[in-house]
């Protein structure tokens, strides 16, 4: 899959590998793939992740304070994993063409 699918599809696809990912890892990967360089776009991608977690597709499993300014200095970083529901919705959305 490439950058021509909606961003939430791509985020779910990245989590479909079954591994745990920190939000800043996903955000920077999407920023790079979609060419979204600005801080506003960075926060908007992070908000997509928050919405996916609110919707029960991702689960927030660990947090740490961003001391080094990887994402935003002093803010809380979150590590997520995909839920069963997220797997169903993600597979439905992502693997149709495969």
């Amino acid at each position: 899959m490439s950058k021509n699918r909606p961003i939430k599809f791509r985020i779910l696809e990245l989590f479909l590998d079954g591994n745990e990912h920190w939000n800043y890892e996903i955000v920077s990967k999407i920023q790079e793939e979609y060419g979204m360089k600005s801080n506003f776009q960075r926060d908007s991608i992070n908000f997509d992740i928050i919405e996916l977690a609110s919707g029960g597709m991702l689960k927030d499993i660990e947090q740490k304070v961003d001391d080094d300014g990887i994402y935003k200095k002093g803010f809380l970083l979150h590590k997520y994993t995909i839920t069963d529901f997220g797997r169903v919705r993600g597979s439905d959305a992502c693997f149709r063409y495969v």
Binding site: I7, S54, A93, R96
Partner: protein
């Protein structure tokens, strides 16, 4: 080590608090925009070409048909104005790319927004305009307050979304409010022997339409950006009105196009732009509040629009609603408060796994 732990806990609490208050703020803005929308929504009926249109059609087809056909043209222009407002909004946010990407995903995603547009447009918004035209702005605004009941029950049966005891109590109070809104007016009119049935049907269409729309749009919003999804909803609505319904009515013989062309009058355009901005942003803030505080709370706070509408209609037009509408509206709002004051500790994930 303990210091770090406490810090993390405090930070997490702060972050969650910030998120929830942001959600409430969005939902509150939704109530204000939605309430203000009833001003242009009510005014537009007496402006050219819509007032001439309804009297012209009434002469040949009767009052009832004339009001519905006029409501169709008004709703079509409302959808067009909202679409323009949303295109500006998406442009400012730089989301055209995401809009196109989402549009292309018909099967897994955008079909839900097109389906939602059928219920939100020809059912809810047309119903609301019909209720405004036949009975009045205050009634239309308050009748729509019943929509969270429809939405919650549908989500319960469709995708097993849990309804807590407290939410059920809230729903019961809102239903009582609905009985007062409909029953009170009907009782008076039954005794006078003149019941504007189509107006009441319009009120029910608004409540059912917005409730069904919320449940359907929720499916698409799982995997779509709210701003993009919302714009697709209005794209669907514009197709329904301008490509299907308006041409069909024109073919049947109603003078749709001649009146539509007359809408390009400065005052009418100004009011339509006002309607587009208020309605567009009430939808933007509605969709934005859901992921932060949940559909139940979002709709609960959003329901304050009924109160806002009555206040604005009173301030601008001196509209004093019937006492049964005031009591019904108060019950609906009390029920909404019962729903959204639920324990907020579960707000991290809004859907059960």
């Amino acid at each position: 080590m303990e210091g770090v732990f406490v810090d993390l806990k405090t930070l997490k609490k702060q972050e969650s608090k910030r998120k929830i208050s942001k959600g409430y703020m969005w939902a509150f803005f939704c109530a204000i925009f939605w309430g203000i929308w009833y001003l242009p929504g009510t005014v537009v009926w007496v402006l050219n070409p819509f007032d001439e249109m309804s009297s012209a059609i009434a002469k040949t087809s009767g009052d009832g048909i004339s009001l519905v056909v006029t409501a169709v043209l008004i709703t079509a222009f409302n959808a067009l104005a909202v679409m323009l407002a949303l295109m500006v909004w998406n442009g400012v946010l730089g989301k055209y790319g995401e809009l196109v990407r989402t549009l292309k995903e018909f099967h897994p995603c955008s079909k839900w927004f097109f389906l939602a547009s059928i219920f939100g447009g020809p059912m809810a918004i047309l119903g609301s305009f019909i209720a405004m035209g036949f009975i009045g702005g205050s009634f239309a605004a308050v009748a729509g307050l019943l929509y969270p009941v429809v939405g919650s029950i549908l989500a319960y049966y469709w995708y097993g979304e849990k309804i807590s005891k407290r939410a059920a109590v809230g729903i019961a109070v809102i239903v009582l409010g609905g009985i007062s809104i409909y029953g009170g007016g009907l009782f008076t009119e039954l005794s006078s022997g003149n019941v504007p049935w189509i107006g009441y049907l319009g009120g029910l269409m608004a409540a059912a339409g917005w409730g069904i729309e919320g449940a359907i749009a929720g499916k698409g919003l799982d995997i779509a950006e709210p701003d993009a999804g919302l714009t697709l909803h209005f794209l669907g609505e514009n197709i329904i009105w301008w490509i299907i319904i308006v041409p069909i009515l024109a073919l049947v013989g109603f003078p749709m196009y001649s009146f539509a062309l007359q809408a390009f009058d400065p005052l009418t355009i100004l009011i339509l732009v006002f309607a587009g901005i208020t309605f567009g942003f009430c939808y933007v803030t509605w969709y934005k509040s859901f992921p932060l505080i949940g559909v139940g709370r979002g709709q609960g706070i959003g329901n304050l629009y009924g109160l806002c509408a009555i206040i604005f209609l009173f301030l601008f037009f001196g509209d004093v609603p019937d006492w049964t509408i005031v009591i019904g509206g108060a019950l609906c709002i009390a029920g909404s408060f019962v729903m959204f004051t639920e324990d907020a500790s579960e707000l991290e994930t809004l859907r059960g796994e």
